[in-house]
């Protein structure tokens, strides 16, 4: 048992905290630096993480050890908690105080897009509709998505690219928006329909491998398959099933076949 856990169980909260921090400070910093690069940001997030972990006599840390069983290693759990707190901190800070300096340097339309997507957490469709109705945006949805894509590229190429991806999700590919009459939500509906014929494991594997760009061996670990080859087999088979499904939808007039 770690000394800090033993100390915590003896009731020495302050001493346990000191021992914990001594042992895990570097891991916490490494996890924060994975998402944040600016020195001031890293130090502020570290303070926020410490405050959260120390709150109410180390309640959050206790919650790990009070579970009847542990599926996750403590270190992995801690990285997950730090990731969660880091994303929260950025969302809170950028949502309340100011646009990041990256966004401030963007042209007006892209700055508004940044505000809608990254700060207000609007979807692409919502942002498009809001910009059209309230600000008289005179762009087709395809042209709008081209601006969205350019905004993503501008903010993700900077030092804060990783955390901005956490806040805004992956960037859209505008080449695929070749039919502007088909709205994004409609495309998603079609995709949901096609995905619904997959098992949860296959569906998670497809989304993690394709959308999140996770390496196949890591996807295998998540879904419980033996190796990367199993992921390739399952994903490509699933995509074939989806292709067939979307072709069926195509018969009723939805222009989606051939994209997958």
């Amino acid at each position: 048992m770690d000394p800090w856990v033993a100390e915590l169980r003896r009731g020495g909260v302050d001493a346990a905290w000191d021992l914990f921090l001594d042992q895990y400070r570097r891991l916490i910093f490494a996890a924060i630096r994975h998402y944040a690069q600016d020195y001031d940001d890293v130090m502020d997030v570290f303070a926020h993480v410490c405050e959260s972990l120390r709150d109410t006599d180390l309640k959050r840390l206790r919650s790990y050890f009070e579970r009847p069983s542990h599926s996750a290693r403590f270190s992995t759990w801690l990285v997950t908690v730090v990731r969660h707190l880091t994303v929260d901190w950025f969302r809170h800070r950028d949502g309340r105080r100011r646009l990041s300096t990256v966004a401030a340097e963007l042209p007006p339309l892209r700055r508004r897009i940044f505000e809608f997507l990254f700060i207000n957490k609007r979807s692409h469709v919502e942002s498009y509709e809001l910009l059209k109705s309230s600000e008289g945006l005179d762009l087709t949805f395809g042209q709008f998505l081209a601006e969205v894509s350019a905004t993503y590229r501008a903010v993700a190429s900077g030092r804060r690219g990783r955390i901005l991806r956490e806040l805004g999700g992956p960037a859209p590919q505008v080449e695929d928006v070749d039919d502007e009459q088909v709205g994004a939500s409609e495309r998603r509906d079609e995709l949901e329909e096609a995905l619904s014929c997959l098992s949860p494991e296959e569906r998670v594997a497809v989304e993690l491998y394709v959308v999140e760009e996770m390496p196949a061996d890591r996807v295998a670990k998540v879904v419980g398959w033996p190796n990367a080859k199993a992921v390739y087999n399952h994903v490509y088979r699933a995509l074939a099933v989806m292709r067939a499904r979307l072709s069926t939808l195509d018969v009723v007039g939805r222009p989606t076949s051939g994209r997958i």
Partner: protein, 220 residues
Amino acid sequence: MSDFDRLDRLRGFFHTGETSVATPDCLDEHTVAALADGTLDAEMRSGALTHVATCALCRRAIASVAEALIDGPITHEIEVVEGRRRRRGPILWIGVPLAAAATVLLLLWSPADDRSSVHRGPPTSAMTPMLRSPVGAVAAVNDLRWSHVAGADRYRVTVFDATGGVVFATEASDTVALFPDSIALVPGASYLWKVDARTGFDRWAASELAEFRVAGPRRR
């Protein structure tokens, strides 16, 4: 169209920017961590994946933690806190005075015993690290691997770019070193790397230089 191009197009098709909102069914941090690390038991995993299949928020969290867990500095610190690796700092604090003391001892020690007339030849290949990967054209570089050298307690790894500039340098006690995600290798550009194995006090056996180049954009 290459497989990467196809995947990029497919990715665009999936993504519409819809934002999930957290629900009471969303996974707790313990489950996200266990899923990302592949340590959740089969029954719990099945239940969790049913939710993850329809929740972009939880899926992003899992992907994000899984990516963090293969980030070099985080992997290193996890190994340290779990006792699988020692910190570099204390080794330096203890190692430097020890090395200094050993140097003094060697200087004081008469070299009279070193009378062997047999000249020590160059190290053979069995005494030097053999570079295993990456070598030649590779899809991605996630780690560097080489062969074990008998008696070696430390390996020094250096990666150079085509101009001879050091791109990455690290030390390891095992025969593998993780290549940090933060270092962007230029697709198509040539890189050289070598490993020095420490086989005794101030005695290093160097590998041959090996060349590699990344064929396409780096995928994790």
